[in-house]
């Protein structure tokens, strides 16, 4: 979809900015808000570009850097911490060969931290794009990453 198409689903009112930024980001091939995305939102809503930039940089789910196809968010809440999120984090860094905040060279995966995903009953958990995976260990993680690699 064009950026215009994405934005025209919303009335031209400033309070729709966050919804528009979410949709523009999801529509962007590299899962981020480019300079063009921000400018388009600012122009559509008749807001200063600096204002839009300020909003985009405040919220942690928006990225101003290109990201991979699959954004892996590792939950950092105390229940996950108690149940082994630290191990999951190290395993992911090992399997993917990148650190947190980084994207793999093949542009498939970006590793991020996130706050509580609300599935503490199956801690430790991660969210990959829209899907949540719980009760993780090194083995399950490897299976999940493999499945994502094969997914074209």
């Amino acid at each position: 979809m064009t950026k215009r198409d994405v934005m025209e689903r919303y009335p031209k009112s400033g309070d729709n900015l966050i919804s528009i930024l979410h949709d523009l980001q999801d529509n962007n091939e590299w899962n981020y808000l480019s300079g063009e995305d921000l400018a388009a939102a600012a122009d559509y809503l008749q807001l200063p570009h600096s204002f839009v930039h300020g909003v985009a940089t405040f919220y942690t789910m928006f990225s101003l850097e290109p990201r991979g196809k699959h954004v892996i968010r590792v939950c950092q809440s105390p229940p996950c911490h108690l149940m082994g999120a630290g191990t999951i984090s190290s395993e992911l860094e090992k399997i993917l060969g990148v650190g947190f905040g980084e994207t793999t060279p093949d542009r498939l995966f970006t590793l991020e931290m996130t706050s509580c995903l609300g599935v503490c009953g199956v801690a430790p958990a991660v969210m990959i794009n829209d899907q949540v995976y719980g009760n993780l260990n090194a083995e399950r993680l490897a299976e999940i990453i493999d499945a994502k690699r094969r997914e074209k």
Binding site: S13, G14, D15, N16, L17, I18, S19, L21, H22, L45, G54, V55, F58, Y59, T60, M61, F62, R73, Q76, S77, P78, P79, H81, L82, T114, S115, C116, L117, G118, V119, C120, G121, V122, A123, A125, M127, D130, V132, Y133, G134, N135
Partner: protein
């Protein structure tokens, strides 16, 4: 035609993360293969509660409760249970006397002490089916409110019920509504705070996913009571399933004339919009939330003025938590007295708690106010894995404190928890055992607040960071005695001078752990020791000479070559080089490495 068996499969986010859909799809296939679709009703419900045991399924009318289901179980369940009427015992929840429980239709201990009001429909109905909601008294309260009660009468009922805000602060809901109703102006708003950001809390997620119409109905009632015709549900973007279910529910409600213009021909019009957050914990604070709804950075502003006077776009606004709103229809249908009969003198009704951490039955529970922590942890929660000793229960998340074992018999309500130095909070209950370090926990919660601080005011932005630095020194073995005094002074200052609730409550975990577990802090500082062996820098690894066989496994694993020794000779760890990673401890097969 009524079907012979009702098969309810839990579709809460945790069960879905445990691949409940794989099991459900297989079951549907097998039922079809046996041509049983006319007799067996399979539905996906919201969260049933015992999240760790998922995927879970209940079969009515016997009430057989299956846990940890795998897709390959489907064939046997259909053949033995559905066709021959014999539940497959080995896959049922194995509490003592599992079979007797099914036969006598008694309650499984996890459910026995619970009192499901808010969670009544969760796990029992298909949240995407409006008819099932209506069939369970859905929208009855709205109908009664609009046709038999004036707005003031609704506010009276809510006030008399004693309902207090379930988001954490416990402000009387009736009073909040009264203030908004009295405020000047024709345009007013109702907002549902669904930005459940407390780590370890997932009550609101379950309600939104499992019974979205109960929240919608609550909001329309609130709108009617205060005179608002527009509402917003502000929901965090980390809950995509809840967002989807809520969208569907809104569409269904509008189609049925329960939302929109002239609802049920009463003359009252009200509609709702969903707004999502974008990953900012501070947006759970009401003024930051409103800034976010308005499309701005989520920065709080000072109060007064309070939202009921000046809220969204300067108009009087009522902001209620999801659980608060979900209680409303029950109060309107059953009456204020019914609600006030549950709970304690100042804390009426029930509370939904999210049990997590070191407890057997992690998941969602709803209990009457006044129940003790001991009952929650040991009877509902099933106790601690490995029968380890309980050290403390953390309530209120990053704004709360810990309740140590000696206070387990305190009846839980808003006042009693405050007296103990904690808060009710939104409902997260994290169980900590003897192997958890309280200094580490306090540091962890503080880290969270440091990251989530919006940065506006100095006490929070700078104060919390400095407090965190002190805790880091302590955890690394670099703490000094004066650090504790400094930590306490800074905590009190940050509490007293921060602009919003985030900063004002962030020091609570530190103050609370200092109150009850000062000896742990002192061990870290004076003895350079972590009693729970959690803080890596303070855990010394040494070789036990009488157990070491000289197999060299530890030396080979050590990433910094800190271990010396020939084959078949006793090995030695150089404490100057050791980085305390614990690799040697994991590698040793002879229990010859000691951690102290």
């Amino acid at each position: 035609m009524k079907k012979r068996l009702d098969v309810l499969i839990c579709g809460g986010a945790a069960c879905i993360a445990s691949h409940s859909h794989d099991f459900k799809n297989r079951l549907i296939k097998v039922v079809k293969a046996h041509e049983l679709e006319e007799e067996i009703n399979i539905i996906e419900t919201g969260c049933m509660g015992p999240c760790e045991l998922g995927p879970v399924m209940v079969v009515y009318p016997d009430g057989a409760f299956y846990i940890r289901l795998k897709p390959e179980y489907a064939e046997r369940i259909v053949e033995e249970h559905f066709l021959k009427g014999r539940p497959v015992e080995e896959w049922l929840w194995q509490v003592p006397e599992a079979r007797k429980i099914v036969e006598e239709k008694r309650q499984i201990p996890f459910f026995e002490k619970q009192c499901k009001v808010v969670l009544k429909n969760c796990g029992r109905i298909d949240p995407e089916n409006l008819n099932e909601y209506i069939g369970n008294d859905g929208y009855q309260a709205l109908a009664r409110g609009l046709t038999e009660m004036t707005p003031d009468a609704v506010i009276e009922a809510v006030t008399a019920s004693g309902l207090r805000g379930r988001g954490g602060a416990g402000f009387p809901t009736g009073l909040k509504w009264k203030l908004a109703r009295r405020a000047a102006g024709d345009i007013k708003y109702v907002v549902c705070n669904a930005d459940e950001g407390d780590p370890g809390a997932f009550m609101d997620r379950a309600i939104l996913e499992g019974d979205p119409h109960s929240v919608i109905e609550g909001m329309i009632i609130a709108g009617y009571a205060v005179g608002a015709s527009q509402g917003f549900v502000y929901i965090r973007a980390e809950y995509p399933l809840a967002v989807r279910r809520l969208h569907r529910a809104l569409e269904q409600a509008r189609e049925a004339g329960l939302l929109g213009k002239d609802i049920l021909e009463s003359g009252f019009s009200f509609d709702l919009e969903i707004r999502t957050g974008a990953g900012a914990f501070v947006c759970g604070e009401e003024t930051a939330l409103m800034a976010s709804v308005e499309g701005h950075r989520g920065m709080p502003r000072p109060k007064p003025p309070y939202p009921s006077e000046q809220g969204l776009w300067g108009k009087p606004t009522v902001i209620n938590n999801v659980e608060t709103l979900a209680n409303l229809r029950h109060i309107v249908i059953n009456g204020a007295e019914w609600f006030a009969a549950m709970g304690t003198a100042k804390s009426k009704g029930t509370k939904v708690f999210a049990l997590s951490g070191n407890v057997n039955n992690t998941g969602l529970v709803e209990v009457p106010m006044g129940i003790t922590l001991r009952e929650i942890v040991y009877e509902v929660g099933g106790g601690i894995p490995g029968d380890k000793a309980l050290k403390a229960v953390q309530t209120g998340g990053p704004s709360g404190g810990c309740i140590p074992a000696e206070h387990l018999d305190t009846p839980i309500d808003y006042e009693s928890l405050a007296e103990l130095g904690s808060i009710m909070g939104s409902g997260g209950l994290i169980v900590l055992d003897e192997d958890n370090c309280m200094v580490n926990m306090a540091k962890f919660f503080l880290e969270f607040c440091v990251e989530e601080s919006c940065g506006q005011c100095v006490p929070c932005r700078v104060g919390l960071k400095q407090m965190h630095r002190i805790l880091q020194w302590i955890a690394e073995g670099k703490g000094e005695t004066k650090d504790l005094e400094q930590l306490e002074q800074m905590a009190e200052t940050v509490k007293a001078t921060s602009l919003c609730g985030l900063g004002q409550s962030a020091p609570n975990p530190v103050l609370s752990t200092l109150k009850y577990f000062r000896h742990e802090y002192e061990a870290h500082i004076q003895d350079k020791r972590c009693p729970a062996l959690v803080c890596k820098d303070l855990t010394a690894y040494t070789v036990l000479a009488d157990k070491c066989t000289g197999c060299t496994a530890c030396a080979r694993k050590c990433p910094v070559d800190a271990i010396s020794g020939e084959i078949k000779q006793i090995h030695f760890i150089d404490q100057e080089i050791c980085i305390h990673c614990g690799a040697c401890y994991e590698a040793c097969k002879f229990d010859a490495i000691q951690r102290r």
